[in-house]
C-alpha cells in the first residue's frame, strides 16, 4: 500500500497546488510532502493559504516531526527537506542543489530510500529540471511516477525534463490530478493500486 506522495513544484506552483490539495478528503490515507521552490525570505503564507482551502491539514515541515497520513508538509523557505528512514522529517542548510534550496531532488532521493515501492512521486509545473533525478530514483526503488501533463503546466520545462529522463507511469492534466490522487481504491495494496492507477 502506498504511504506517501512527494510533490515537486516550482514556477506556477500556487495555482497547481491549489488545484490539487483542496480536492483531497480529510481522511486521505497518505502523507503528502511538498517542495515548492520559492525565495528564501518567503514567509509561511503558502502553507496557511493552502491550509485554509484544504480539508487535509497543511503545515510547514518541522525537523524531527513524525510523518502522519492526511497531512501535507511543505518545505520551509531556505532549507532542504529530507525524510529519514524512520519516517520523520529533517531539514538541512547544505548548499543548494540545482541552484535550489529546498531542492526537489534532495526530497525525492531521501523519500525513495525511505518508502521504496510505497511512494508516489509527482512533478508539477516549473522552469528548471530539479526533480528529474529524484523521480528517476523513486522509480529505481520501485515507486510510482506521475508528471503533470506539460500542456496544462504554467511553465512546462520541469514536467518535460522529468518525462524525458524518467519512464513515468502516468502523465495527467492538472485538473484531473486531485481527483486521481483522491480515488478511493488507491491505497489498498500496491499491486492493486498499480492496476487501478493504470486503468
Amino acid at each position: 500500500m502506498f504511504e506517501a506522495i512527494v510533490i515537486g513544484v516550482s514556477a506556477g506552483g500556487l495555482k497547481a497546488l491549489t488545484a490539487i490539495l483542496p480536492v483531497l478528503p480529510s481522511d486521505f490515507p497518505l502523507a503528502v510532502i511538498v517542495v515548492q521552490h520559492r525565495h528564501r525570505d518567503s514567509d509561511n503564507f503558502l502553507d496557511r493559504y493552502l491550509d485554509d482551502l484544504s480539508s487535509v491539514r497543511v503545515k510547514e515541515a518541522e525537523p524531527g516531526e513524525v510523518i502522519l497520513p492526511s497531512y501535507v508538509y511543505i518545505a520551509p523557505a531556505g532549507y532542504h527537506l529530507l525524510i529519514e528512514r524512520d519516517k520523520t522529517l529533517s531539514l538541512s542548510i547544505d548548499p543548494p542543489v540545482n541552484f535550489s534550496i529546498p531542492s526537489i531532488d534532495v526530497l525525492f532521493e531521501s523519500a525513495a530510500a525511505c518508502y521504496k515501492n510505497h511512494l508516489i512521486g509527482l512533478i508539477l509545473t516549473g522552469a528548471n529540471s530539479d526533480g528529474s533525478q529524484g523521480l528517476k530514483l523513486v522509480k529505481d526503488y520501485g515507486g510510482y511516477a506521475i508528471v503533470q501533463a506539460p500542456e496544462t503546466a504554467e511553465v512546462d520545462v520541469m514536467p518535460k525534463a522529468a518525462i524525458d529522463l524518467v519512464d513515468v507511469d502516468k502523465v495527467i492534466p492538472l485538473q484531473e490530478l486531485g481527483v486521481f490522487l483522491a480515488q478511493e481504491k488507491f491505497s489498498s495494496n500496491v499491486e492493486m493500486s498499480r492496476r487501478v492507477l493504470n486503468e
Binding site: I83, E84, S90
Partner: protein, 276 residues
Amino acid sequence: MKPEDMQEFEINQLLEAIYFRYGYDFRDYSKASLERRVLHRVQQSDLGSISEMLPRIMHDTEFFELFLRDMSVTVTEMFRDPKVFKKLRKEVFTQLKTYSRVNIWHAGCATGEEVYSMAIMLKEEGLLDRTRIYATDYNNHSLDIAEKGIYPAEKMKGYTESYITAGGKASFADYYLAKFGSAKMVESLKEHITFANHNLMKDQPFAEMHLIVCRNVLIYFNPKLQDRVLTLFKDSLISRGFLLLGDKETLDFSQVKPSFETFSKEERIFRRMMYV
C-alpha cells in the same frame, strides 16, 4: 538484491567503522543528509559504492580528513536572519549589560561569519570590551578560515544589507579592510574572540556562559545527540543565561525543556531558569 537495498546497511557499517577507527560518532547524526554527502564523496572519488570507500577510510588517514571535511556543512553567512540579531541587540544585550564580564559561546561556528556579526553588534552597544567570545567547531579547516577572518569581497554587499536590517548603527565597511578582492575583518573585533576545536559529540561543557549561540547545528543531529548537546549547554550557562538556536530549531522534543523558558519564540531565544 538491488544496490539500493544495500545502501542502508553499507552506510551503517561505514559509520561503525569510523567510530571504531577514529572515535567520531556519526551514528547519531540525521542520516538522510549525511547519506547524501557520503554518496557525493563516493562519486567524487570515483568509487563504485560506499563499501568500496570503507577500506580507504580505515587505512588512509588523509582520505578520512577529506571525508571529515565533507561531513561538516560549512554553509554560513553574516547576520543570517537579521531579525534575530536585531532582537538580541534590543532585548538580550540590555540584560547582558548588567554583568561586568560577559562570556559568549558560539558552538558550531563554521568559518566565523556569525561570530564576527556578533562582535560587531557588541561593539556598537558598548559591550565588546567586557566580553570574551569562545567560538568552536570540530572542523579545523573552518576554524583556520574563521581565525583569519578573510572573506570574499563580493559577499560584502549582501552582508551590508543584512547588517542594516539587523539594526547596524555605523557603516559596515568600517569593520573590514578590502584588499585584492577580499575583505579582512579588523583586529579590534578579533582580539575579543578565541577560536578553538570542540566536538559536540564528546567534549566537555564550558563554564559560566552568559549566552550560547548554536544555530543550524542541531538540525544535523538525531534526538539523542540533540539531547546530549542541549544538556551540555544547560550545564554551561549561568543561572538566567541565554540560548539562541537556529530559525527552525526548538527545545520542544528535548529533556532539558523544563530547565528553560522561552524568551522569544519567533527568534528562538531561550533562557535558563533560575538554579534551584
